[in-house]
Amino acid sequence: MGLNRRDFFKWLTVAGSAVAGSGRSAHAWQSRAPADPLGCLVDLTRCIGCRKCEEACNRVNHLPAPDQRFEDLTVLDRKRRPDERAYTVVNRYTSGLIDERDQLVPTFVKLQCMHCQDPACASACIVGALSKKENGAVFYDVSKCIGCRYCMVACPFEIPAYEYHDPITPRVMKCTFCYERVQSEGKLPGCAEICPVEALTFGRRDDLLKEAHRRIQGNPGRYIDHVYGEKEVGGTSWMYISGVPFEKLGFNTLPETPMPRLAETIQHSLFSYLWSPIVLFGMLGGVMWASKDKGDRGGNGKPGGER
């Protein structure tokens, strides 16, 4: 056994590089995005930072009560991130622009899961607890989750949060796009329903994109010409338009390539039908069979025999 093992490791690099480089042309990567998903358009020029969306989200999702009341706007004095107790938060940014009374003009940014068309989290999840639904929601099924938190590594928007305080049944917490309300009850997501200034527009993603570009074209002075989420990471169900460049509002600059593409391409070209393990197994079996004749196999199973 020792003899053979040693032979294998001599061949290992050869075999390994043969497998890795065998250039079997990868199947072109296919997006699994739903064809006609729902979405939400956030118009940052309309948002007044009233935090009604946070309150509605907390209510419809039965989240724990906040430390400070939702009416308390001093919360906006510091930047927050969505966490395991709040699926959505609003932050205030100032670009330095001042109004006629010398007051800084604020821009409010609502954050939540972007519900990517090709979500990295769903591609990464070890058990498929996260999945992209036909209606556009990235859905979390707690009954499958093992708590590995690889979704949190994968998410380019750094959205999924985790109940670290719970030692037995911690959950990954993130915006559900109010999946049940939208799918079963035919309602709007809590935040989009309550928004008093129509900063949130809920609808078919295609329609929202047209509306976004219509608003930008109709008022080029008010908006910068960029719909964030149209192309970022291959497109997201939540999209933003703004009067201030997005990089000044805490949005990170992301590639247009869907996040799962490279990993899935490599993974599938190497392991579809388990062809590479089978080939490697066959090669090593051949090596072993060939070396069987010249080597002695007397050492097998006897203590100290393989040395």
């Binding site: 294998f8 690099t13 058990v127 498929g128 708590g147 037995i168 072993m288």
Partner: protein
């Protein structure tokens, strides 16, 4: 030489799984990947490989247990009624295993190739978070070649420690030839690593002085280049002390590489929070490794793993 390596692998993987059991939040759900498959998930493939590989390692190790206990099963107290059935199982294993062991030996190599490369693929899902010095489509190949290259140095490391600690022969006549192969294997890894850096032009980061860049320089210089140059010298290869130092550097270099890819180089741009393991996490890890070493030492005294110790002959 094979048996200590096998024992190291078996215990190592067992403790990886124990560590993961602590690491995942819903430990009781660790079996779920067997039921809910996600073929797009790199982590799923790693999990399956580790699961199968651990069982393969147990099967490969079984003959050593058989050799020690066959015909000599003597369980204490009331368990003695099980002596005959256990001995029967050992005899069955002794009869069957040698005939089919080749399957598990090859499967072991295949599974470790698959999952070592997939460990590298784990970070491919996060291109915006991993520092460009490490983020490359070659990550799986780099992980595979470095894992192969670290094999013999790990054997030297472990054999030197064990033979010193237990007062056995140093086995240099076996170890020295092994490290000649390592020159080639480690050289391959180094060539890929440098080549990748040149092709992607990431050498522009090398002198920017950030923690990531410095960690990369330490990793490649101290963990790969220096020990590789050391191994080129026959004097080093024949000196027990120098060889041990070179092998420590190689093992440390691969260790630092893994830490760099998953911790140091991992910088999510928004939540800048720099992760550093909590005291509890460090203690659990240290505790697991200490337990592993204790069990290793226990097993080599009970089972025929190392050279027949001289003490045993005189006793």
């Amino acid at each position: 030489m094979v048996r200590p390596a096998l024992l190291t692998a078996m215990l190592g993987y067992t403790f990886v799984v124990l560590g993961l059991l602590v690491d995942i939040g819903r430990s009781w759900a660790i079996w779920k990947p067997m039921l809910y498959w996600n073929p797009t998930s790199v982590l799923f493939e790693v999990a399956m490989c580790v699961m199968f590989y651990l069982n393969v390692l147990y099967l490969e190790f079984l003959p050593i247990v058989v050799a020690r206990f066959k015909g000599r099963v003597a369980l204490p107290g009331p368990l003695a009624v099980l002596n005959a059935p256990v001995d029967g199982l050992l005899r069955l294993a002794d009869a069957v295993l040698p005939k089919i062991m080749w399957i598990f030996i090859i499967a072991g190599v295949v599974l470790s190739c698959m999952h070592q490369s997939s460990l590298g693929s784990l970070m491919l899902i996060a291109p915006t978070k991993l520092h460009p010095l490490w983020y490359t489509p070659l990550l799986p190949l780099l992980f595979l070649t470095s894992a192969i290259a670290v094999g013999y140095p790990m054997v030297v490391f472990e054999a030197t420690l064990a033979t010193t600690s237990l007062g056995l022969d140093s086995e240099m006549e076996v170890l020295t030839p092994l490290t000649r192969i390592t020159i080639f294997l480690l050289g391959t890894y180094l060539a890929l690593k440098i080549g990748d850096m040149v092709v992607r032009g990431t050498y522009v980061y090398l002198l920017d002085g950030t923690a990531q860049t410095n960690a990369f320089i330490v990793e490649v210089l101290l963990g790969v280049i220096v020990p590789w140059l050391m191994l080129l010298s026959p004097t080093v290869r024949q000196s027990r002390r120098a060889l041990f130092i070179a092998c420590c550097l190689i093992v440390g270099g691969v260790l630092v590489n893994r830490i760099n890819v998953f911790v140091v180089g991992y910088r999510p741009p928004i939540s800048e929070a720099n992760y550093f393991p909590a005291i509890g996490e460090i203690l659990v890890t240290v505790g697991l490794i200490a337990t592993l070493m204790f069990i290793y030492r226990f097993l080599v005294t009970v089972l025929p793993v190392l050279n027949q110790p001289k003490q045993e002959v005189s006793a």
